[in-house]
């Protein structure tokens, strides 16, 4: 008993000691997409600036938005997609950290600067962009993938073997792209067509789920899964028999940017981290790890992906970026989703 007591006392003292040491130069609390930041870069940053970095993660923009709206999240840096970034600026949920005056701004590729989601580029520095679409298990499915018709109106072997994500954001967007309905439509007739399409597809859908996708597709539980293209690339690099479909109707695009939530406790460290991640050599390491395209200047010769080994990152079909919907349009999306799953 006595040994146990002194052991726990010792543990307590050690914990306190390390706790103080770590607070020497402060903390940085990241709230980012799951597995999105290269852990080696975090370790390097932590050592270089003597900052203790904590990483929390989310799996949907909605989760992030809700958390920031609830207030005082305690996070210093986050990575929303463009259509949510716009909402966060308009609702005053993120800090203006003068991004356009940072060294990082000069490292953004020209075509990604001052876009509609942050025209003045004061609130954000982009970190990655990609698309969402249909992945297939190429060992088990050999059929065509050149049109979304294959997945939205499936016949034969794909029937009952398709899984969609559990968020209306991506699923409704893809359906709109297929039908030629504009994103954020406020026309009930157009959105009724979206609902009709998804209702007709539902009997062929095994699950609406955003968890456990790799094993569901890998085991053959489903033959096709709605997914993000970088995840497909990462899994394929690990040996999984996956392929990403490039339908002629196009793909839904997103771009994530680094922002600082309003009232973040360690804003200076957050800015240091943004500058650090935006250095060309680090943006290169980040892209190689994350397996999504980088909107930053990178050292092209050090990028491990080529059109041959990573067709997922060299997309030739049109990419349509998600828009920020008006509340009326958002309500229609919500109505489609609720009636689909009622």
């Amino acid at each position: 008993m006595k040994t146990l007591l002194s052991a726990s006392a010792l543990a307590l003292i050690t914990a306190t000691a390390t706790g103080t040491a770590a607070q020497a130069e402060g903390n940085l609390n990241l709230y980012v997409w799951a597995d999105s930041i290269n852990p080696e870069l975090i370790a390097t940053f932590s050592k270089e600036y003597d900052v203790k970095v904590n990483v929390d993660s989310y799996t949907s923009n909605e989760d992030l938005l809700t958390k920031l709206q609830a207030g005082s999240s305690g996070y210093d840096l986050s990575t929303p997609s463009q259509h949510f970034l716009r909402v966060m600026i308009d609702e005053g949920l993120i800090e203006n950290y003068g991004a356009n005056k940072l060294e990082a701004f000069n490292n953004i590729e020209e075509k990604w600067r001052n876009q509609w989601w942050d025209e003045t580029q004061e609130y954000s520095i982009p970190i990655a962009y990609g698309t969402a679409g249909f992945a297939i298990n190429s060992d088990l499915y050999k059929g065509p993938t050149d049109s979304m018709k294959v997945f939205f109106e499936p016949e034969g072997e794909l029937f009952g073997k398709i899984a969609m994500l559990s968020y209306p954001d991506e699923v409704v967007g893809a359906a709109q792209l297929y039908l030629g309905v504009p994103f954020c439509s406020e026309d009930p007739d157009e959105m009724k067509r979206v609902l009709d399409l998804l209702m007709a597809q539902k009997p062929a859908v095994a699950a609406y789920s955003s968890d456990n996708i790799a094993s569901r597709l890998g085991s053959g539980e489903v033959l096709s899964h709605f997914w993000w293209q970088g995840e497909v690339l990462k899994a394929r690099k690990g040996g999984a028999p996956f392929a990403f479909a490039f339908p002629k109707e196009g793909l839904v695009g997103w771009i994530d940017s680094m922002v600082i939530p309003k009232g973040a406790p360690n804003q200076e460290n957050a800015v240091k981290f943004i500058e650090f991640m935006s250095r060309p050599e680090n943006a290169t390491a980040q892209m190689n790890y994350y397996a999504y395209s980088s909107p930053m200047k990178v050292n092209a010769e050090d990028i491990i992906y080529t059109p041959e080994n990573a067709p997922e990152l060299f997309i030739e079909v049109p990419i349509e970026f998600s828009r920020t919907c008006s509340p009326a349009a958002q309500d229609l999306v919500n109505r489609v989703w609720t009636q689909l799953l009622q």
């Binding site: 938005l65 539902k202 085991s219 053959g220 989703w337 609720t338 799953l341």
Partner: protein
């Protein structure tokens, strides 16, 4: 000094009251307040009184643009109650014999068996559900086993209501077994002998002696299973494939993609109201039964 001693129950209970007030009553009051607030345009809310969230449960703008009666939320509420009811009934059917068996063992064996019943609580719930996904899924142990009896290869038992129910019953079982076991353990065995002496057959003995005496355990077990089953999110999504919404996911949607916090809070209040109603009815019926038994005695 004497005053303090007199007031000791009050001061002693103060921490418990404070905890209840801050951790239980205050959050419920906040939800109640949000449910009648005005929604923000991209989620969140403003403190302006607006009961629209409650109206929305029954009436919504239809595709023609007019306000009409929309049964979709009632359907979701009804389905949730059906699932919770089915879970409770199945748990009861399986838990009674288990509890009975445990109570008939030697004290040492009983302790071990009760320990085994509580063992699943040591593992995170999500892991336990994942385990069922593997067992029932394509090429999982169960389909593989049944293939030896002629089941078509590659069959999966996942993504349907049955799979949801299996996981629900599995996760809720201990909550039913333990209270029933506690009341069976206290059962006076001589009463069963007396029943047999009076020519009561097994069924009569079960119905007129065992069941009434273990009723308190059954009632608390049923409440412990039914109430959390109403709020289940994980099992319907992971096992059922999320193809049909339950109240838990419906509420979650309003705070996420739906961006309608007051509506989400309103559904939560309705769910809580229905649970309270269920508990009050159960309590009243239990009280009446006890009173009836005392009168007969």
């Amino acid at each position: 000094m004497r005053r303090l001693a007199n007031n000791l129950p009050f001061w002693g209970l103060l921490p418990a009251w404070a905890l209840m007030g801050f951790a239980l009553i205050l959050p419920i009051l906040i939800i109640a307040a949000v449910s009648v607030a005005t929604r923000g345009s991209h989620g969140g809310f403003t403190w302006d009184f607006n009961p629209a969230g409650y109206a929305q449960i029954l009436f919504n703008e239809g595709w023609s643009g007019e306000l009409e009666f929309t049964p979709q939320y009632l359907i979701i509420i009804g389905r949730t109650f059906l699932l919770a009811g089915a879970t409770t009934a199945l748990c009861l059917i399986f838990a009674l014999p288990v509890a009975w068996y445990i109570s008939r063992q030697t004290p040492g064996m009983r302790a071990i068996l009760v320990y085994l019943v509580t063992l699943p609580f040591w593992v995170s719930m999500i892991l336990r559900v994942y385990a069922w996904m593997i067992i029932l899924g394509k090429d999982g142990p169960l389909p593989r086993f049944l293939e030896t009896f002629g089941l078509a290869p590659g069959t999966s038992f996942m993504f349907n209501d049955g799979a949801t129910l299996v996981a629900m019953v599995y996760t809720c079982m201990p909550l039913m077994v333990l209270p029933i076991y506690a009341s069976i353990e206290k059962l006076d065995l001589t009463l069963i002998e007396a029943s047999h002496d009076l020519h009561g057959n097994r069924f009569t003995t079960f119905r007129r002696v065992i069941l009434p005496l273990t009723a308190p355990g059954i009632v608390s077990g049923a409440i412990l299973v039914f109430v959390p089953a109403l709020g289940a999110v994980l099992e319907p999504v992971l096992m059922g494939g999320g193809k049909q919404m339950m109240m838990g996911s419906l509420i979650q949607l309003q705070f996420g993609g739906g961006r309608n916090w007051p509506f989400g809070a309103a559904i939560a209040m309705v769910l809580m109201g229905l649970v309270m109603l269920f508990l009050i009815v159960t309590a009243l019926r239990a009280a009446r039964r006890t009173a009836g038994m005392e009168a007969r005695a």
